[in-house]
């Protein structure tokens, strides 16, 4: 989402900005970018760990609990076609 856009001239540092302020616009990778990237990588790693700890399952089958379920499952072929092999085993006919 790129909502409110400034006027074209504002994409650059202000004309009356001090030399130090202008340097901050152009010098190296800003600190906020580094912090942002490190935080994002940490969150992605955390998500991977959580997914692995929860059995590594990711798909529609995850939304169906099979524990204690022994009634015949009746659902359409359209729905079943979206499930992977792992998911299908979760939803298999008993």
């Amino acid at each position: 989402m790129n909502d409110v856009k400034r006027q074209p001239g504002e994409a650059s540092p202000p004309a009356d900005a001090s030399p130090a302020a202008k340097m901050r616009w152009t010098a190296g990778v800003p600190r906020w970018v580094k912090v942002f990237v490190i935080t994002a990588l940490g969150l992605v790693l955390l998500m991977i760990v959580v997914m692995l700890l929860s059995g590594g399952q990711h798909g529609p089958g995850r939304h169906v609990s099979s524990a204690g379920f022994d009634a015949p499952v009746a659902y359409s072929v359209t729905a079943a076609s979206f499930f992977s092999a792992d998911d299908a085993s979760v939803l298999s006919w008993r």
């Binding site: 989402m1 790129n2 909502d3 409110v4 856009k5 400034r6 074209p8 001239g9 994409a11 650059s12 540092p13 004309a15 009356d16 030399p19 202008k22 340097m23 901050r24 616009w25 152009t26 990778v29 800003p30 906020w32 970018v33 942002f36 798909g59 529609p60 995850r62 939304h63 169906v64 609990s65 099979s66 379920f69 009634a71 499952v73 009746a74 659902y75 359409s76 359209t78 729905a79 079943a80 076609s81 979206f82 499930f83």
Partner: protein
């Protein structure tokens, strides 16, 4: 490639409507996902999954696609560019990621909505909700919104290169000004150019 101001404002209005609409629709989807997660009543779970499918395909997906496209047009049609500023690049990456995950996830939502419509109450009551996807999506959209409002400074190496090139070209044009009526025009330094 600068857009005419009227077109830019119109595009901006469409972009804000779509982006804010996407955020709101994602919040509504999350509410349905939580309802399906916590409820034990088959009717509630069934209604929630059907609602998630309809709102997903007919509200969230169109709004997300439009927000993405108008964002691209606005970036390319103004001096912000697509790869000149770190905040624009990060917003682009996060929006692309959100849209991709959304489009990959929606077929699963459709499958579960079909299951919710056709299965008996015993199976439907064992369907859980859909919380992680909309919750993470909402978080990413909030981050993108904050980036767009705050516009933190920082030029990418490509942006610095482009800016230096533009400044150089502008200086060249000014120094090559031809004398008029025997008077040599000495250009005054422009104040609107960055160092």
């Amino acid at each position: 490639m600068a857009m005419p101001p009227a077109l830019r404002r119109a595009m901006l209005a469409v972009h804000i409507i779509c982006s804010v609409g996407w955020l709101g629709a994602a919040a509504a989807y999350l509410a349905l996902g939580v309802a399906a997660e916590v409820s034990m009543q088959p009717q509630v779970i069934r209604a929630a999954w059907i609602g998630m499918e309809i709102s997903g395909w007919y509200v969230i997906v169109p709004l997300a696609c439009l927000a993405f496209l108008t964002g691209l047009v606005l970036s390319l049609g103004t001096s912000w560019g697509l790869f000149k500023h770190y905040w624009v690049v990060i917003a682009l990456v996060l929006t692309t990621l959100s849209l991709t995950v959304l489009l990959l996830h929606m077929p699963s939502v459709s499958a579960l909505a079909v299951l919710a419509r056709t299965a008996d109450d015993a199976l439907v009551s064992r369907l859980s909700g859909d919380v992680p996807h909309p919750a993470l999506g909402l978080l990413v959209l909030i981050v993108v919104t904050v980036l767009n409002v705050h516009k933190p400074r920082g030029l990418t190496p490509y942006g610095q290169h482009k800016q230096a090139k533009e400044a150089k070209g502008s200086n060249k044009r000014r120094t090559s000004a031809t004398p008029i009526g025997g008077l040599k025009i000495t250009p005054s330094p422009r104040k609107d150019l960055p160092c």
